[in-house]
Symmetry: C2
Amino acid sequence: MSSIGVPLGGQSMQLPDADYKLTNDKTKDQAASKRCGSIRLSSEEELVLKSFRVLIADLCQQFGGGHPGGAMGIAAIGVALWKYVMRYAPHDPDWINRDRFVLSNGHTCLFQYCFLHLTGYKTMTFEQLKSYHSDRTDSLCPGHPEIEHEGIEVTTAGPLGQGIANAVGLAMASKHLAASFNRPGFNVVSDHIWCMVGDACLQEGVGLEAISFAGHMRLNNLTLIYDNNQITCDGPVSLTNTEDINAKMRACGWNVVEIADGCWDVGAITQALEASRRSPLPTFVNCHTVIGVDTAVAGDAVAHGAALGSETVISLKRLYGFDPEQRYIIPDTVRDFFSGLPSQGESLVAEWNQTLQRYSQAFPDLAEEYARRMEGDLQDNWESLIPDAFPSTPTPTRAASGLVFHPLAERLDQFLVGTADLAPSVYMSWKSKEDFEPPCLGTGSYAGRFIHYGVREHAMAAISNGLAAYHPGIFIPVTSSFFMFYLYAAPAVRMGALQHLQIIHAATHDSIGMGEDGPTHQPIELAALYRAMPNLLYIRPGDSEETAGAWIEAIRARHTSSIISTSRHALPQLTGLAKRTGVAKGAYILEEVTGTADLTLIGVGAELNLAISVAAELRSSHDLKVRTVSFPCQQLFEAQPRRYQREVLQRQSGVPVVVIEAYAANGWERYADAAVCMSSNRFGKSLPGPKAYEYFGFDVPSIVARVRGYLEDLRVDPDLKHDFVELTYAKTDG
Amino acid sequence: MSSIGVPLGGQSMQLPDADYKLTNDKTKDQAASKRCGSIRLSSEEELVLKSFRVLIADLCQQFGGGHPGGAMGIAAIGVALWKYVMRYAPHDPDWINRDRFVLSNGHTCLFQYCFLHLTGYKTMTFEQLKSYHSDRTDSLCPGHPEIEHEGIEVTTAGPLGQGIANAVGLAMASKHLAASFNRPGFNVVSDHIWCMVGDACLQEGVGLEAISFAGHMRLNNLTLIYDNNQITCDGPVSLTNTEDINAKMRACGWNVVEIADGCWDVGAITQALEASRRSPLPTFVNCHTVIGVDTAVAGDAVAHGAALGSETVISLKRLYGFDPEQRYIIPDTVRDFFSGLPSQGESLVAEWNQTLQRYSQAFPDLAEEYARRMEGDLQDNWESLIPDAFPSTPTPTRAASGLVFHPLAERLDQFLVGTADLAPSVYMSWKSKEDFEPPCLGTGSYAGRFIHYGVREHAMAAISNGLAAYHPGIFIPVTSSFFMFYLYAAPAVRMGALQHLQIIHAATHDSIGMGEDGPTHQPIELAALYRAMPNLLYIRPGDSEETAGAWIEAIRARHTSSIISTSRHALPQLTGLAKRTGVAKGAYILEEVTGTADLTLIGVGAELNLAISVAAELRSSHDLKVRTVSFPCQQLFEAQPRRYQREVLQRQSGVPVVVIEAYAANGWERYADAAVCMSSNRFGKSLPGPKAYEYFGFDVPSIVARVRGYLEDLRVDPDLKHDFVELTYAKTDG
């Protein structure tokens, strides 16, 4: 199906090949694109741009929806990238040294899908292109690019700005590998990262954080291409943004290039992009474009998120000399224009393979290591690096997290570990760590594996997604901050889980035990989000041993993200009770009774030890038979067979179950009848940790009294068994 | 207790009053502050600064914790603000025309507490100052400033950067009132907003979004004062940020002033701050300071978040000529320095009252309106503005939301309504709306009440907190975006709820019904967060009538934030069943049965109509007695008496309850035994809305089959009643 139609008047459009100066009055159509000054565009390229735009319009028209305008506006950028600038191999899409392309303004995805089709990606057939916005459940052309599909590096947008941070992560991954493996004369790692952004991406905080960070890191293997069409959904960008973006980018440490006519000037764009490979700084190419160029809605917000309408599509075809009756027209000339790219890609791969072979002879150890890393496997004995036992003294689980993780971080180069400016608090920096920093600053190198993300929680998580997306299994990014601040990072944590990326988030200072920093820091309700989030393990270990278990599960989950949620304050070691292997099942029995139990107590994380103490008190002073269960991870428990779940909880036998956790109870109703929890209608309080616990009734006498009260209430009103009961408590202030 | 101690050598510190040039070699102590060039500092001021720093050090030393370094570094800024620049009245802290001060770097709160004490705020006694980091549950000096306390405008930090956006909101509130009420010669509204920020606030995305927005809005009644100490927790800022902040701020449309010696140059700071009142742009005052100035840890990260240690405190006292044995020293000279401020404040208020009186004579109607607005009450008949009935045709609840809200927005000036660039989709812009824009752009005015926030969801919510915090009840900010993007905004939504601010978030495109934009847009798990968040109503109406109920509840909740969560797609009107008054109770019976029911079906929001249809089918084709319940808001239901809750759910009678909602089921376990829901281990899918519903089994035949299967399973295995069962379904791709 090389050509589905031919343009009318194709012959009359012959233009000189290069450096042809188009004038502004080429057409009298009011909506015609403005072509600024002298541009460089061959006749073939012009036909490609026109065919491309008509194709986009047709594809959106098909089901009456989609985002045509942006994709049409940036066609010339696509030609520059896929035809002239990017180094990639359409028939070897996962070639590790390929340039990576990220479409941060992901709603323009048809742009990418069409170029994947034209350049010869095998899975992107023409039929697939036509599945955009269709009912097909096997479509490779969803409404936004999805990482699962060939040629797509990361899932983007919708949540705008993420792509910028992802691209920064990809660029860091490449810098790190290059610093680790390249040797003079052997650039085994030499890919460049290209990221397309729209007006919106540059307004989003996560994008702005990442831009500032990339400038600091001197990521000159990164080029941001700005589709500057000055239109968003509400109308002109000037409604809400009148900043000087070029000056802002320069202030952030970027090289800035401006392209006056981003719609047509393929030559200038190509030159700017090529030059950006040699910049000492990351490059921002500000391309002035027109959304819905050459249509009746050119430069208008309505061109953004709806099909153009058949009238408008017909007019465009007429303007461009295409037969208005024909749809999905890809002229032979256009196909020919891209036809050499697969073989060109094969040559690039072959050349690189030769480099790799010479490298293997010159540096056999390094080459072996490189090959091993590319496989994505961890060394077999990684689990044995974790201490068998821990100090018996009370230890904060955040400190235990360090004891578990440091030997792993020392030995496993897969770990790229960072913090959002809480290095002294989160225990994630190991002794021999080197900082990931640009060499020019003299404080580290790109070979370093410890990343100071700054106070940029959201970008930290989004950049980590980029690190992990570079190549399957090659890195396990670790982020760290206070648990509460993972609400800042949540959109990116979600994107990691959605993309099946293994990111480990070391979240400390969970629960009200974090203390005097107060309710703004006390994560009462945040766990409810992460326990409901698909493909994410939220693990709250109760002591050092369980912390070992938490890390083991997080590392084993090669296609799942995890949050390891730890305490600020010291917790007693539950030696002989808590088991690292127990964590794998999400929940497990700590203490069993003989005969019929009166009560099952569930303890969680920093409050697990309270459950043990309360149970002991209920046994010794109140003659109750109390079972105890540790429940570090709901998601892992849900994955267990029902038989195991029933064995642990024993709700079928009618024994009441009470959970103890210093969070809102939401979600525990699945496993318990009542909760010693935070009230769901108030936040925490600024008090020293132990006092905060006491204030909300998280001490043994208070819990014992409330649990006994509950058992008595159950006796008096058996119907209470059908209500979930919150056993909350808060002192009156004063 | 005017003076608890006196400094040693006080006499020898007599310095000329003003324009005294201190030299750099004033002390040989290595840790002495650098004093750059010529500074303006009187001897009294110098004593104030020194006493202040010693006091901060003592207060942190008391309980061995807190954040001393930053507070010490910015003492001179405080003197400039509270002594010379700000217009406020310590004995009339809620005077409506006061200047507002926001401490975005809230961990330095002792800075603010001490100035509140020194300037005569009555509740901030010396005993209260000493309660910082204590066990006192009635402390007015929590670890971060809290809005509940006198002199505090907003609760800040911890979550950094929020304060910048809050200050932008305060400045917009002031601009709006000024544009609405001021008349030539009558500046009834003339307050200025001062916001202190640290290095971290300027790295956070929410701060960067707000800065860009404030520049666009030309908020020249806003001054940002940058405590540029170049230190964060990890160490020097240069580890992670080497941007040119002045150039960046200028690029964002700010006036920039630099203060070389922010530690001592009270004169220069005062001058810069005063000048900022006359700038045509918002002003950024970049004050170079030294964290922990003049101590052994000056300029070091350890000065940030821990007490200095007694040795260091003693050295500081020696250096400053204080008695090392004495603690909490506030010399009489220092008290005298501030003693005139209460009466000065009273004069300001009196003067303003006179203006107001003259204004009342000149513009009696406006003055009456102003007085009414300041009361914070809504007009009595607001509820009657809402339509009694709605079109009977299928209507998306987002459109119904517009039908309900537009007449309110037209008539109630309290509503300041904005969108994060989704005006065409969220139905929040009413016919006669005027845009809030700086007059110079020619597209609106500051009297406008519709705000184009740009693609800045997080700042939108944080700015709204500032709007609401300006004065109790004076505004009801409304934000709008797709529900999924409220994950971007979540930290600010939380801060609004925490501060008991009434913000209404109009969140559209909830559920997988939003369709082809795919899993990045489909909010599977987000409701779990908002249903667990204290003081927030998450309301999902099921048709137009319930949408009216949702708005009524959100508007009635004058001290609570709400999310009104609506559908993209058209929903049938459940006329005769759905009731706006039902929403008030969170859940209510739609259809009751006579005799014992076989099943209770709960329907929620966009899936409510499915519950009705499924119930009908189970009745007609399978002879089952099915009750139906509409459940738009868990939080409102939780507030009902248990008797009502049991009446609605009837779980005590053993009738199984199944909930239908296209979200992860987390949280429904409290009210149901099983859920027709999204699987908790996968995200949504990019398909047109109806197809997405079908794909995940949200159609009548599929639900009927699964509910019947569940009832059969219950019969076979009665123990199943103790398990919560997810009745999930997803087609195999292909």
